[in-house]
């Protein structure tokens, strides 16, 4: 149905033209689900945008044929394309909130699409919009018709976007990272929904994702892309078991799933020894946190207790809104708990309020690596300045020693010294993550809080960073509190796991026990949501 022949796309940039897509071929049959898997910069989204001819300014299709049902898309004019967009080929975007108009009711937005393509009249638009909402399993659709996007959760918003995309009964749905940024359980429901709708309507789906595990579970056929080229294609089972191309092998290895060991994420990786555990380093007892909300107090944490031994690694697992980030920033002493005790090396940390903890001697002993490496680096500071920052205030060193230490740290985290003079936007995601880790290690902390340090990274980079973290833990005898939404990752790195939901601890115990015999239904649900390739 969709045929792409030798597609080449070029972007004009400050440093001359860049080839984003270099001659890819693709065939998509009716009713088939095809996955394009690749990491950031592989050209997978550009390929999808080319199909609908919605490339950014500066992007140009320089060669190749795009044919959809006999229509040549490369030659089609804007009017013809507008008939095809939405009606024949539709798209679901990565960030559902950004794809919805924030000041229009969701029902009206669906009506707009229907009437744009003359599929509804003023009289029946509303009824059809409500039907479209029901099809994406929105409960109480007639009432939700009047909701604004901000009133809905991320998963709900993505369902609305899917309803919008499917309102005109398209034959082909392009889903560009439809579940990135959604919780794992939500990811599963959204993907199941797309799969079922596609089956019911005989619709083809082009699923673009960085997640090989997810693509493997939902696609009939996969295409692996790297640097604008297709390196390998085939059914998922074949790709995961007998990949031939080196990049595919690397990608398959880097994809975490249940029961995989950390060093198996990188090809030829050696097992990293785990440090011996000593006495209790951090003890959290009955910590609660209550915020003053508009409609009464909001309980972010409702009594969390745990211990972490020296050299240990605790995994804090939970979905968005579970309170795991609040808890980690309380342990990092960036904010105060409402009640409860936090003991560090047997001494109460609450003695010094968070606002004055910057000058506490224990400041250098508790450091943190942040979730979003980009956002956590000052855009005006070079990598070296960022790494040096904690030393300037927390240690009494002279500038020359600090500079030497920066180079030592860079070597430790595997950051080439030549990159130290770069500003954050000149670094890749993995390099920024390394700068963040080097900065946290700069003052020799005893406890490191890792707040989803790999959430924004490509899987192959995640594999390297996770192994780096395990290696550093062993070499520097560090203690970790590792925050994550991904049980598969926690299972590889952590010896103890604590599953959180709505500010409460639902399960706490050795990681193996939590994963193999979960007691609470919520943990079971989380484990079930980890993508498993179809056998």
């Amino acid at each position: 149905m969709l045929q792409i022949r030798d597609l080449r796309v070029q972007f004009e940039t400050r440093n001359g033209p860049v080839d984003a897509v270099r001659g890819i071929n693709l065939d998509l049959a009716r009713g088939e689900t095809l996955g394009i898997v690749g990491e950031s910069g592989s050209g997978k989204s550009v390929t999808a945008f080319s199909v609908l001819r919605i490339l950014d300014e500066g992007g140009k299709i320089i060669a190749g044929d795009l044919t959809y049902g006999g229509i040549n898309l490369t030659a089609a004019d804007e009017n013809a394309l507008n008939d095809i967009r939405g009606r024949e080929i539709s798209m679901v975007f990565q960030n559902p909130r950004a794809a919805l108009n924030p000041i229009r009711k969701i029902g009206q937005q669906i009506e707009d699409v229907l009437r744009q393509h003359s599929l509804a009249t003023r009289q029946d638009a509303r009824r059809k919009a409500i039907t479209a909402l029901e099809e994406v399993q929105i409960k109480d659709a007639a009432a939700r018709y009047h909701a604004y996007p901000f009133e809905l959760s991320g998963g709900m918003c993505q369902r609305i976007v899917i309803a919008l995309a499917l309102a005109c009964q398209p034959q082909l749905l392009i889903a560009d990272e439809p579940t990135t940024g959604l919780d794992v359980t939500t990811q599963k429901t959204v993907m199941d929904l797309i799969q079922n709708l596609a089956k019911d309507r005989g619709m083809s789906v082009l699923l673009i994702t960085h997640d090989l595990g997810l693509a493997g579970q939902y696609c009939n056929r996969l295409l692996v892309m790297k640097d604008g080229e297709v390196v390998e294609s085939g059914p998922p089972a074949k790709l995961t078991k007998e990949a031939t191309h080196a990049y595919t092998k690397k990608l398959v290895a880097a994809t975490p799933h249940k029961g995989k060991a950390l060093h198996n994420l990188i090809l030829g990786g050696a097992a990293v020894p785990v440090p011996d555990q000593g006495e209790v380093l951090l003890s959290v007892r009955n910590v609660t946190k209550t915020y003053a909300g508009k409609s009464g107090p909001v309980e972010a944490l409702r009594g969390i207790s745990f211990n972490v031994r020296k050299g240990g690694c605790l995994g804090l697992v939970g979905e968005s809104g579970s309170g795991k980030s609040t808890l980690s920033s309380i342990i990092a002493r960036l904010q105060d708990a409402t009640t409860g005790e936090i003991e560090f090396e047997g001494r109460n940390l609450n003695d010094t309020p968070a606002a004055r903890f910057a000058s506490d001697p224990r400041r250098s002993e508790i450091q943190m690596v942040f979730q979003d490496a980009t956002e956590s680096l000052n855009p005006r500071h070079t990598a070296a300045q960022s790494i040096m920052e904690p030393m300037r205030h927390l240690t009494k060193t002279i500038p020359r020693d600090r500079s030497a230490r920066v180079h030592e740290l860079a070597a430790q985290v595997g950051l080439p010294a030549a990159l130290l003079s770069r500003l954050p936007h000149q670094l890749s995601g993995g390099q920024k993550a390394r700068v963040g880790i080097a900065r946290a290690l700069a003052v020799n902390p005893k406890l490191l809080i890792l707040d989803e340090p790999t959430a924004a990274l490509d899987v192959s980079i995640q594999a390297l960073v996770l192994n780096l973290l395990a290696d550093l833990r062993h070499r520097l005898n560090l203690t970790y509190v590792f925050v994550s939404h991904d049980l598969a990752v926690v299972q590889m790195l952590c010896d103890t796991a604590l599953v959180m939901r709505s500010g409460e601890c639902v399960e706490y115990g050795p990681t193996d026990a939590v994963l193999s015999s979960p007691k609470s239904p919520y943990t079971q649900e989380l484990i079930a949501a980890i993508p498993q390739p179809r056998p």
């Binding site: 942040f370 000052n378 000149q426």
Partner: protein
Amino acid sequence: MSTSPSQSFAAHVGYVLRQNPVTLITFSLLAGLIFCAVLGPLLAPYDPLASSDTILQPPSGAHWFGTDHLGRDVFSRVIVATRLDMTISIGAVALSFVAGSILGCVAGYWGGWFDAIISRGLDMIMAFPLFVLAMGIVAALGNTVENVIYATAVINTPFYARVVRAEVNIRRDAGFVQAAKLAGNSDLRVVAMHIFPNALPPMMVQVSLNMGWAVLNAAGLSFIGLGVRPPTPEWGIMVAEGANYIISGEWWLALFPGLSLMLAVFTFNLLGDGLRDIVDPKQRR
């Protein structure tokens, strides 16, 4: 990328200028203005205050911009006036930049009562017709150049404070701010060294717009007889004096100082984009 920071900054400025011809023209005009302001009296062919018998002469080879009703050379007066007008506008903008930044940082970072008091105070200033407020301040404090600067600074401060407040507020909980706290920075250092510099790009646009307003404001005050007094050469006064002679056909008295005023405002207003691109690290490659 292995070049030293100063070298790469110079290269970046060069890139911004090459990339945008308007910015290049604007910076040349600015250089011209600064040149006149610094060297003013040395460049003027005649003493700007010396009167002569050749009154109300139209522009000629001897007097490029003609002479005024006291026989003074208009060209010399326009050139010499650059320094005074630039001093007033730069002084006023510098004062309001500093005051606005401090108020905006406090309001944006600490919020709560600080924010309520500062923001409502600034709203009160903005509620007045600004030029009338400036007139009132100069009239109350006394008719001097310093007071014109203070008055212009007061009416411009709210604009800076609002920009800074918004920029600081959105970054208050950013990851790099939390990282700075973990690195042992006190709140004051976090605001001053980590958050505020990131508000500079939009501030530069504000600065350039404000410079234009400040020049117009100073000229406007002296036009109605406040601030600078005759016979001091100043564009606003010269336009005011020249205005009386336009009806009788001596157009050059008002036209040339008016044109310089326009050129200065034009330069400052176009400066914004270029300045922003220069201070924004994201524009660097």
